[in-house]
């Protein structure tokens, strides 16, 4: 009986030939990362409860300030300062204001075959490069930071076979929203979502990350795409080498297999307040919006910015709409700048933010008020996620957000894209 990619990575990380779903293993991690959402608690546990003196490997522990950048209060600044002091003391890689943590990890650290643990739920993004990433809380993280090991239950795998081609105005973002809508917010709880099929083979790394990033929104432990030439080229162009290029065996066991055809896909939108309450944009009716957001670890990369710029170029957004655009990293920002996209955004009336989590996280830039409606490319539309408990969030593609910012109401982007 064969193994899936996820099982193979876990077997290797735990020094075993074979692992099977349900088995509890102790695995060695390749990297661990923590951001300013919880690191102040990690440091407290590390220093005051574990009484630890050293991190397990200073090259494999990464701290990233990305959630509240730049800080909006002295209390937040205190958290950032604590991270800076710890990073300096332990001589670990430290980033501040350089981008959303998962994008920085993908650009600077992740290679196929790794096991990566981070104190953030969207760590499953790294599956886009064929690495097993999963999010944990700060106690788990702190123990990993100290020992380099973690206990894990080997998850079942679900397979998603994607065929066909996107129609204009339809993106990977629409696909993952569609999938989550179909299987539900706990449809993959504790499992691996493995994305494959002829369409995914042609996907860019950006698109693969879009799929894997939101696996956690279906409850998954990780999302994975088989690493191939596209993944190898991505990491090699950044001076790194793959650790292992695992492929799922022909006879690997999946708990379930789902089939999707992109030719049939249309722009999708998740309506408040659940990520799995997903309908086609065409069915949404007249919904007025107060704010749009393009960014986040899900949808703030160059391809999404290009899609938005194509719609916004030479136009002005609705005067009563605030449109916030936050490129996912400094590298993405600079590329967008070189391609003239930043000029387009500034001139259309958008607010171009520094690379950070922004309103996807909802406690720093672009917080929305009582009764306001946000359309976002972020990861979640939970009640109150972007500000006031009585506010609403719709999740859609960058193109849908851009089209909606022009009209002031939720708008199908098709017809506005070439």
């Amino acid at each position: 009986m064969g193994m899936t990619i996820g099982e193979k990575i876990l077997a290797m990380a735990s020094g075993k030939e074979v692992v099977r779903p349900g088995e509890i293993i102790t695995a060695k991690v390749d990297l661990c990362m923590s951001n300013d959402g919880t690191t102040h608690l990690n440091i407290d546990i590390f220093e005051n409860q574990l009484h630890a003196e050293k991190v397990f490997d200073p090259e494999k522990v990464i701290f990233i300030v990305d959630h509240n950048v730049p800080s909006e209060s002295a209390k937040t600044a205190q958290v950032h300062k604590k991270m800076r002091i710890f990073a300096q003391k332990h001589n670990i890689p430290f980033y501040e204001g350089t981008g959303v943590c998962h994008q920085i990890m993908i650009e600077d650290f992740i290679v196929p075959g790794q096991l990566v643990i981070a104190a953030d739920s969207h760590t499953c993004s790294y599956g886009g490069l064929g690495a097993f990433g999963t999010g944990v809380g700060c106690t788990d993280f702190t123990s990993v930071m100290n020992t380099g090991e973690i206990w894990l239950m080997v998850p079942e795998s679900l397979k998603f076979v994607i065929e066909g081609n996107f129609k204009p105005g339809v993106y990977a973002r629409d696909l993952i929203l569609k999938i989550i809508g179909d299987i539900g917010a706990n449809g993959a709880n504790y499992k691996i979502m493995e994305f494959g099929g002829s369409a995914v083979k042609n996907f860019t790394i950006d698109d693969r990350v879009v799929l894997c990033n939101m696996a956690v929104e279906a409850g998954a432990k990780s999302g994975l795409v088989e690493p191939d030439e596209i993944a190898i080229e991505y990491v090699e162009s950044r001076g790194r080498k793959a650790k292992h290029l695992y492929k799922s065996d022909e006879d690997a066991v999946y708990e379930n297999t789902y089939h999707y055809n992109l030719d049939e896909l249309e722009p999708m939108i998740a309506i408040p307040h659940c990520v799995d309450d997903v309908v086609p944009v065409t069915q949404i009716g007249e919904v007025k919006i107060d704010q749009g957001f393009i960014g986040s670890c899900n949808n703030g990369r160059i391809e999404e910015l290009r899609a938005a710029a194509q719609i916004l170029q030479g136009k002005k957004i609705n005067p009563y709409v605030k449109l916030l655009i936050s490129p996912a990293s400094k590298a993405v920002y600079l590329q967008a700048l070189a391609e003239g996209l930043i000029d387009i955004f500034v001139e259309c009336g958008a607010m171009v933010l520094n690379p950070n989590c922004s309103v996807c996280w909802g406690s720093c830039q672009g917080v929305i008020g009582e009764g306001e409606t946000l359309i976002s490319t972020g990861t979640r539309n939970f009640k109150g996620r972007a500000g006031h408990p009585n506010s609403s969030i719709y999740l859609a593609s960058a193109a849908t957000v851009a089209a909606s910012a022009l009209t002031g109401k939720i708008t199908d982007p098709r017809g506005q894209v070439l």
């Binding site: 950048v69 730049p70 800080s71 909006e72 209060s73 002295a74 209390k75 937040t76 600044a77 205190q78 950032h80 300062k81 800076r84 990073a87 300096q88 430290f94 501040e96 204001g97 350089t98 107060d290 005067p319 009563y320 605030k322 916030l324 400094k330 920002y333 600079l334 700048l337 070189a338 930043i342 000029d343 500034v346 001139e347 009336g349 607010m351 171009v352 933010l353 520094n354 720093c364 830039q365 672009g366 917080v367 929305i368 008020g369 009582e370 306001e372 500000g387 006031h388």
Partner: protein
């Protein structure tokens, strides 16, 4: 007997042929500016006073800049209240995220030379740079202007600052005004008009002149005026021939005249926590800093970003040090992006924020905690202005801030120029 520029603007406005400092009189208001943080209060007072219609909707400008982007759940209320009032009163000039009010007012030509303008912000003195009489007032008085179009003022005596000669390398308008503040003190011009003149001032760009006028209020001044010239007329898009009289008469009466030789100037910093606590940069070299800030209505213009880019080009900001850059307006951001300036700043590690007040107003955009030090291009270094009362703020020119960010400590910017 002649009159000063300030007196002449008031005389033009009131139709008077003579005027004396200390005299109280009513002026006809040409334009007013209200920003988001005080808009709800102006509107509330306006209603409490029993007014129903504003005197002239075309003379009112709303600018949302202090609470942009919103950082706290209640921030949006200010924008909603102002939006509703603007719609009700037919006020069309509403800028929701286009930049800092004092940059937009002259840039978008809401203010032109010779006008009398009030704003609900102390740095309304900025428009003196283009030869307007402009000053900050509270929201109650603004509500009264909304209703009546008038305000009583006391005619201020004028202090003249006559600055001559070429500025040495590494010395900018910010260094001039900080130097003056250090000399006359934070109350050295209380209730007075400051007038900046002389060959140095004539040689300054409109942007640099705005830096001078902007900080006049830090000496307590009511206005900080500069005679308009061809540069001003071009900037404001007005016919200069009709405004030739907008300059002080040679026999005007000044309360005092200060003479400065610009060639002796050096880069300076205002040390914590008073704007008039001025030291030469040379004396402060080596002072550790955690964060730099380039932006605000004082120093967030294209030439400010440009000089920072010249220093940062091909270099990296010191580890564990931040540099936050906030262009003063949307068009400045766009121009800087096109000119390659933004690319240089971001390459070097700067954190680019959208045009707004940002850190200067102390509500978001890089608030600091206990023990942290900021070096900034804005106008105030008051205790706790940027967060913890146990933090410290130094004020300096964009060049000095950029150089400090490179080394994580205060350094002489001239070594990078």
């Amino acid at each position: 007997m002649g009159y000063t520029l300030t007196e002449k603007i008031i005389m033009r406005n009131t139709g008077r042929d003579s005027i004396t400092p200390g005299e109280l009189l009513n002026v006809n208001v040409d334009k007013v500016m209200v920003h988001d943080i005080f808009a709800p209060f102006v509107i509330e007072k306006f209603r409490e006073m029993g007014f129903e219609k504003v005197w002239n909707p075309d003379r009112i400008v709303f600018v949302y800049d202090h609470l942009v982007p919103t950082s706290f759940i209640e921030d949006f209320r200010h924008h909603k209240i102002a939006d509703a009032f603007a719609a009700e009163q037919n006020i069309k000039a509403v800028h929701r995220a286009d930049g800092v009010c004092h940059q937009l007012m002259p840039e978008l030509r809401y203010v032109v030379p010779g006008q009398v303008v009030f704003g609900t912000d102390s740095h309304t003195t900025t428009y003196g740079a283009i030869g307007a009489f402009s000053t900050g007032i509270g929201y109650t008085e603004m509500a009264a202007i909304f209703g009546t179009g008038e305000l009583w003022i006391k005619v201020p005596p004028t202090l003249k600052f006559n600055i001559k000669g070429d500025l040495p390398k590494g010395v900018f308008a910010k260094d001039i005004i900080l130097r003056i503040l250090g000399d006359i003190g934070a109350d050295g011009a209380t209730y007075k008009a400051m007038e900046f003149a002389g060959s140095t001032v004539e040689g300054l760009s409109i942007s640099s002149r705005m830096t001078l006028s902007n900080m006049a209020v830090e000496a307590g001044a009511k206005v900080g005026v500069i005679a308009p010239d061809e540069k001003t007329f071009a900037f404001s898009g007005v016919e200069g021939s009709r405004l030739q009289d907008l300059r002080s008469d040679s026999d005007a009466t000044y309360e005092k005249v200060f003479e400065y030789d610009a060639t002796t100037f050096k880069p300076v910093v205002a040390c914590p926590s008073n704007v008039d606590n001025i030291s030469d940069v040379e004396e402060m070299v080596g002072t550790r800093i955690d964060q730099g800030f380039i932006g605000s209505c004082t120093n967030g213009r294209l030439e400010d970003l440009e000089i920072a880019a010249r220093i940062l080009k091909g270099r990296k900001i010191a580890p564990f040090t931040k540099l936050i850059v906030t262009p003063a307006s949307r068009s400045i951001y766009a121009e800087a992006a096109k000119a390659g300036i933004i690319g240089i700043l971001v390459e070097a590690g700067a954190i680019m924020n959208p045009p707004a007040c940002g850190l200067c107003c102390g509500r978001s955009g890089g608030i600091v905690s206990d023990g942290e030090r900021v070096i900034a291009t804005n106008n105030r270094n008051f205790l706790g202005r940027m967060g913890s009362p146990k933090s410290e703020i130094f004020l300096a020119s964009p060049a000095t801030v950029a150089a400090a960010a490179l080394e994580g400590k205060i350094v002489d910017p001239r070594k990078y120029l």
